[in-house]
């Protein structure tokens, strides 16, 4: 058995967190499982790097100095807690100091130029992972493991030069990762690799964008042909609903890649869809596990989930912070291409549309957009369309979207009726229903005041608190 384990920032709050990472890995190593470890930056470090970049662009030298001091302290403390072997500690401390110094130098140069290029931005962001990975590696060495750490680029992940959201060149990556990392795996050594960062063919540092560390984990698993990817987070796998909204929410034992992608699309903080790309084809299983409850329930993401569970609906996802824009005009009826025109304009302005609906009379088109962009969107649509065939544009921002996700709904009649009956029975008014989206979800809009009630009504209707766990889960 070969597993890529990825530890997210929430696992790495401090030295204690890093100790936990070592303990958890040890359990698997004792079972002769071969492991490659991917490490994110310590909790909130990446955010603070984004912040210091913007301060550097303002030329705020004091902020940089202060930041660097704090950054060094956080990492020094973490390594002191985890490492007691004098030699290893010294080496780790000097690694941290060298990294911090280099980072300071770059930040100063950004502050002189008052500009961070996408390239230097990615380079700066890479320090979060480099620091945490150096410490995790020292923590393993401290426990007498033969561990080595690499940046994603050193490990062989080669990307295009789309800084900030780089994409791997998967064939080159596969070849290089195999060459570099496989020998260590074969020798039962532990390769520890920075998540999130990679490099171009010319050795320039890139980052993989949002969800980047999960992406690193699946890229490495695919390149090395591993059996599973374990993503250690701070919840018991993926839940049937947000437990803050529905206390009865429970862990979904198994979902398919496409369900996970669907849920992520509707805003569930499960896994970034792109992170599933590398493992999808090879059918490498992905497990979401809880670092604080390693023996608790987890979720497996794999290819054919429905054979293992009797649930039609797997999850109820709610998106807040959205708004609905409706464009109407009687002349729109029978007018070909009007919808295309509306969406063309939105697309040209890089506006992300979550849902679309056109009334059957064709007299109006509604769409759901992020609430923060609402004013801008209304302006764009008004200036482009108002007056001709479009007579009216109005928006509502007191709404939320609820999506019911589950591959089992495919081809099973009456699921939608069940959904809307459950909502109607609560006296909740559905304001819009999405059309023509995939068969994996039913999504609709309700008033914001009804958000919690809607989720709970559906959770109850589909008995989602009772999952069939007849399958044995590790």
């Amino acid at each position: 058995m070969k597993i890529v384990m990825k530890f997210g920032g929430t696992s790495l709050t401090d030295g204690e967190g890093i100790k936990r990472v070592v303990e958890i890995t040890k359990t698997s190593l004792l079972k002769e499982i071969k492991i490659v470890i991917i490490v994110s930056a310590m909790a909130s470090i990446t955010d603070s790097l984004f912040e210091v970049i913007s301060r550097a662009e303002l030329g705020d030298l004091e902020y940089i100095k202060d930041f660097i001091g704090k950054l060094a302290t956080i990492h020094h403390n973490a390594v002191k807690v985890t490492v007691n072997d004098k030699e290893i500690l010294e080496k780790a401390m000097s690694e941290i100091n060298a990294l911090v110094k280099e980072l300071e130098r770059i930040l100063f140069s950004v502050s002189y130029l008052r500009e961070a290029t996408p390239r230097s931005r990615d380079y700066i962001l890479s320090f979060g992972e480099k620091l945490s990975t150096a410490i995790v590696c020292a923590a393993f060495q401290n426990q007498k493991f033969e561990a080595y750490w690499f940046t994603g680029g050193e490990a062989g992940i080669i990307t295009d030069d789309n800084f900030g959201d780089a994409k791997p060149l998967m064939n080159i990556t596969t070849q290089q990762v195999k060459e570099k990392i496989n020998p260590l795996v074969e020798e039962a050594q532990i390769p520890i690799i920075t998540g999130y960062i990679a490099r171009t063919q010319d050795n320039v540092t890139t980052t993989l964008g949002r969800g980047g560390s999960d992406y690193s984990a699946t890229i490495i698993a695919r390149a090395l042909d591993f059996d599973e990817v374990w993503l250690w987070k701070d919840t018991d796998g993926i839940m049937t609903a947000d437990p803050k909204i529905e206390p009865m929410a429970t862990t979904i034992p198994i979902i398919s890649y496409s369900e996970a992608i669907e849920m992520a699309y509707f805003g569930a903080k499960v896994i970034h869809p792109k992170a599933l790309e590398p493992v999808f084809e090879q059918q490498i299983k992905v497990r979401i596990k809880n670092i604080f409850n390693p023996n608790g329930l987890d979720t497996i993401i794999e290819k054919h989930p429905w054979t293992n569970t009797d649930k039609i609906v797997k999850s109820i996802v709610m998106i807040r912070d959205v708004a609905m824009v409706t464009v109407s005009g009687t002349e729109m009826i029978g007018m070909p291409g009007i919808a295309a025109k509306v969406f063309g304009i939105l697309g040209d302005n890089k506006i992300n549309i979550l849902m679309i609906s056109q009334s059957s009379s064709e007299a109006n088109i509604s769409f759901i957009v992020p609430r923060g962009d609402l004013n801008n969107i209304v302006n764009v649509v008004e200036s482009a369309l108002l007056g001709s065939v479009v007579k009216n544009i109005y928006s509502e921002s007191d709404i939320c979207v609820v999506a019911v996700v589950g591959v089992g709904m495919k081809g099973i009649p009456g699921v939608a009726a069940k959904v809307f009956k459950a909502v109607a029975d609560e006296g909740i008014n559905v304001r819009m229903i999405a059309q023509g989206s995939s068969e994996l979800n039913i999504s609709f809009v309700v008033g914001e005041e009804n958000d919690v009630r809607t989720v709970r009504a559906l959770h109850k209707e589909f008995q989602m608190d009772k999952f069939n766990r007849s399958v044995s889960l590790i």
Partner: protein
């Protein structure tokens, strides 16, 4: 088009000769003007910002290395440095095949692609080890990677299969892909001489390399099958997936025993849905792939079109150069230099 040639042995020298001899024709017909700006061998490089004359190259090479030229020679200069630093449209990589790590060809090709230079090669090592990787690298950098001469020498096997057979399905491929062993087996059969004697003859005639082991043990044929599977059939075949046996166990008496039945032994490479195999096989002399001497033959068994066989000169500097020339002209069509 500015060209860098890495490796100036049999193929490299034949290529420069052809480019020189056909200069006018190539320009009039295809608008191809090949300016060789650098040539590298183990002794170093010869570099000129404008163009190197064929006579200059030949004269320099006659004293061992192209780097010996008094005006343009750069003794000790390495291929990688030339690829990185000299402006050129195409790098033609013709160093010896190495199937362990593909070097030096692997690094040369990667570096050329990364530096956004088109690449033509006949070197099987890098192609066998990393074809899909190199294709990805070429695409990423917006340049072309061509290797018509790597399989079948002058026989347009790869392009024929990839382009001319579209719409039909290839059920299997079978062929004689190594000129050296085919020459040896042919001579054993017609002159009734031993394998050792035939090999010596082949070396004298310049058909076999000083170290002919890749030919004799079937590895050269296996390399070609791997490239064909991966390029033509979009497979991901590694050398270790191929069942290889060479001709070293073929004896004169084996051949004599079957010759009366109108049969002979040939080193055959075959690809079908299940497996890829290189081994000496008994063939009827009437079989279209049963060709003699240094000829190569490849038969495609097609779902609709039936069997289609290509026969022709498979190896040698001049025929292989003709394949490189095809690649050059194709690249010329895409670029404007």
């Amino acid at each position: 088009m500015k060209i860098i040639i890495i490796g100036y042995g049999t193929v490299g020298q034949a290529l420069t000769k052809i480019l020189y001899e056909k200069e006018k024709q190539l320009f009039n017909k295809y608008g191809l003007r090949s300016n060789i700006v650098a040539v590298v061998d183990r002794g170093g490089a010869i570099i000129s910002k404008t163009r190197l004359k064929y006579s200059t190259l030949m004269k320099a090479k006659a004293s061992g290395t192209v780097a010996s030229d008094p005006n343009f020679g750069k003794p000790g200069l390495k291929a990688l440095q030339v690829i990185e630093e000299e402006a050129a449209d195409v790098v033609i990589e013709l160093t010896p095949t190495n199937i362990i790590d593909g070097e030096p060809g692997m690094s040369n090709i990667k570096s050329a692609l990364t530096n956004k230079k088109n690449v033509i090669t006949t070197n099987k090592g890098p192609l066998v080890l990393a074809l899909i990787t190199l294709i990805e690298l070429a695409r990423h950098n917006g340049v072309h990677l061509r290797f018509s001469g790597a399989v079948g020498g002058g026989l347009p096997v790869l392009n024929f299969a990839k382009k001319s057979l579209i719409g039909d399905r290839i059920i299997s491929i079978k062929g004689i892909l190594n000129g050296t062993t085919n020459y040896i087996l042919t001579r054993m059969a017609e002159a009734h001489i031993s394998l050792e004697t035939a090999l010596k003859e082949a070396q004298l005639a310049g058909y076999a390399e000083a170290d002919p082991s890749y030919d004799l043990n079937g590895v050269d044929t296996a390399c070609k099958l791997a490239i064909m599977s991966n390029w033509i059939l979009d497979k991901n075949v590694k050398l270790k997936d191929i069942n290889v046996s060479g001709i070293l166990d073929v004896t004169l008496s084996n051949i004599k025993k079957i010759e009366k039945k109108g049969q002979t032994i040939k080193l055959v490479g075959s690809i079908d849905d299940e497996k890829i195999v290189v081994k000496p096989q008994t063939l009827s002399k009437n079989n279209p792939i049963c060709v003699d001497g240094v000829l190569n033959a490849v038969a495609f068994n097609m779902e609709s079109a039936g069997e289609i066989t290509l026969v022709g000169g498979g190896a040698g500097g001049v025929v292989t150069s003709s394949a490189i020339l095809r690649d050059l002209i194709e690249i010329r069509r895409y670029t404007n230099s």
